[in-house]
């Protein structure tokens, strides 16, 4: 499985967020998307997930399931975690697991350290715990591509460690991760720098497209 972006551009709210973006990610690779606030990290992830239409360029999927779009083969973890406050932790996770294609819920809850809170309504979870619940969704449902928007935010040190472990395990199994990150890069990740207003794009493997406004 390989995802290739060719000349991707994105306009949101009339403002060009990035343009002429080229990159390619192969199976077993992790691409860390970095850049200042407003550089278009989240927008890029939403474009790849199919939640925002690119204004130019295209995304090509080699391999993978040709019947499904890229978004349908991806886990998208955005700033909003899609958990309902009035449902319990377990009900929330069981629903997404069933809706997205089924998997083991109890073990993934245990893995992120929320097993003891399974019957607590999600409204009482802290920000970090909600983030852990999002990670449990990644584990409960098998998807080859993970699109993570600042996955480490609100996580404590142990949570950061857990996140790094499951990301490494995922790419180890041949998965692909695109993650918008601030701060230190996850280990073994290639970096895709977005440079705010206009675009400076490199795929980290030579021949970076440079185009400044």
């Amino acid at each position: 499985m390989q995802i290739v972006a060719e000349g991707l551009a994105c306009v949101r709210g009339g403002r060009e967020v990035f343009r002429n973006l080229h990159f390619a990610v192969d199976r077993g690779e992790m691409l860390a998307i970095t850049g200042p606030n407003g550089a278009g990290k989240s927008s890029l992830l939403r474009v790849v997930a199919g939640l925002v239409r690119p204004s130019e360029g295209r995304l090509i999927l080699h391999g993978g399931d040709a019947e499904l779009s890229i978004g349908e083969q991806a886990h998208y973890v955005g700033h909003q975690d899609a958990f309902k406050p009035s449902l319990t932790v377990q009900e929330n996770l069981v629903f997404w697991s069933d809706f997205l294609g089924g998997g083991e819920v109890a073990t993934s809850l245990a893995c992120v350290g929320l097993y003891a809170l399974a019957h607590l309504p999600a409204r009482y979870l802290s920000a970090g715990q909600r983030r852990r619940l999002s990670l449990a969704r990644l584990l409960a449902v098998e998807r080859p591509l993970w699109l993570l928007d600042e996955p480490g935010s609100a996580l404590d040190a142990a949570g950061q460690g857990l996140l790094a472990d499951i990301m490494v395990a995922h790419v180890g199994k041949g998965g692909i991760i695109l993650a918008a990150v601030h701060g230190p890069l996850p280990q073994a990740a290639r970096e895709l720098k977005l440079a705010g207003a206009g675009a400076l794009a490199g795929d980290g493997r030579g021949a970076p497209e440079k185009a400044r406004l």
Binding site: R12, L51, L68, E72, Y76, K84, S86, L100
Partner: protein, 222 residues
């Protein structure tokens, strides 16, 4: 559990949990219809004549109440992003959401109508006629409302705009709902004709509603 039954079960659960608002519509229906006899006075013949229309108006307005949250709550917490990236066709997912909404808001209206018929001096046969027309007509209100919910999904206070957008589209449903109910009381036209048109309107909206709402949501991607 299959994806669609999981979605149905979740929406039913959410509706009956704290803040779900399943009973708001039926309580509003109750209070609106209760006010009618106070407003028009104790003229029993008049109440009988306008009773079906009042029940239908009450149900129409009550059905608007929960619609603004039908998709907006999923939009706000990011669930809609996951519904869009799910492998279920969006049309089916939206149809299931609207069906769950109808079960928790439309069905209570149908069940409450016979009780309220007493307040409006309706005889058992016309009460039954109103209940039957509401049973076949309220799905149309919900599924047409789904389009409005999709159009106003990103607006913070979309409820009023939604009502203004949707009420004109509901006029045919109202006309034939009331026509069928009155036919059972007055007996000038047969009950069957308007009822069948009402059924047709419902069936049409069952198909058009989810398709139009899905197109709207995809167009509005941002």
């Amino acid at each position: 559990m299959s994806p669609l039954s999981a979605l149905l079960l979740r929406d039913l659960r959410l509706a009956v949990r704290l803040g779900g608002g399943a009973l708001i519509g039926v309580l509003f229906f109750l209070i609106v219809v209760t006010l009618v006899p106070f407003a028009v006075g104790p003229d029993l013949a008049l109440l009988t004549r306008i009773g079906p229309a009042m029940l239908w108006l009450g149900a129409l307005l009550a059905s608007l109440l929960g619609l603004d949250r039908l998709l907006a709550s999923d939009h706000e917490d990011g669930s809609l992003d996951l519904l869009l990236t799910g492998r279920m066709p969006l049309e089916l997912a939206l149809a299931v959401k609207a069906f769950a909404h109808w079960l928790t808001t439309g069905v209570p209206l149908v069940l409450a109508a016979p009780v309220l018929g007493v307040l409006l001096n309706l005889d058992p046969s016309s009460t039954a006629a109103v209940a039957i027309t509401l049973l076949v007509g309220t799905p149309a209100l919900t599924f047409i409302g789904l389009i409005g919910a999709a159009l106003t999904v990103a607006l913070r206070r979309g409820g009023l705009l939604l009502a203004v957008l949707i009420l004109p589209l509901n006029i045919p449903v109202l006309i034939f709902g009331v026509a069928a109910s009155s036919a059972a009381t007055a007996g000038t036209v047969p009950f069957r004709g308007p009822l069948l048109i009402l059924c047709a309107l419902s069936l049409m909206s069952l198909v058009l509603g989810p398709v139009a709402a899905a197109i709207t949501l995809r167009q509005g991607l941002d």
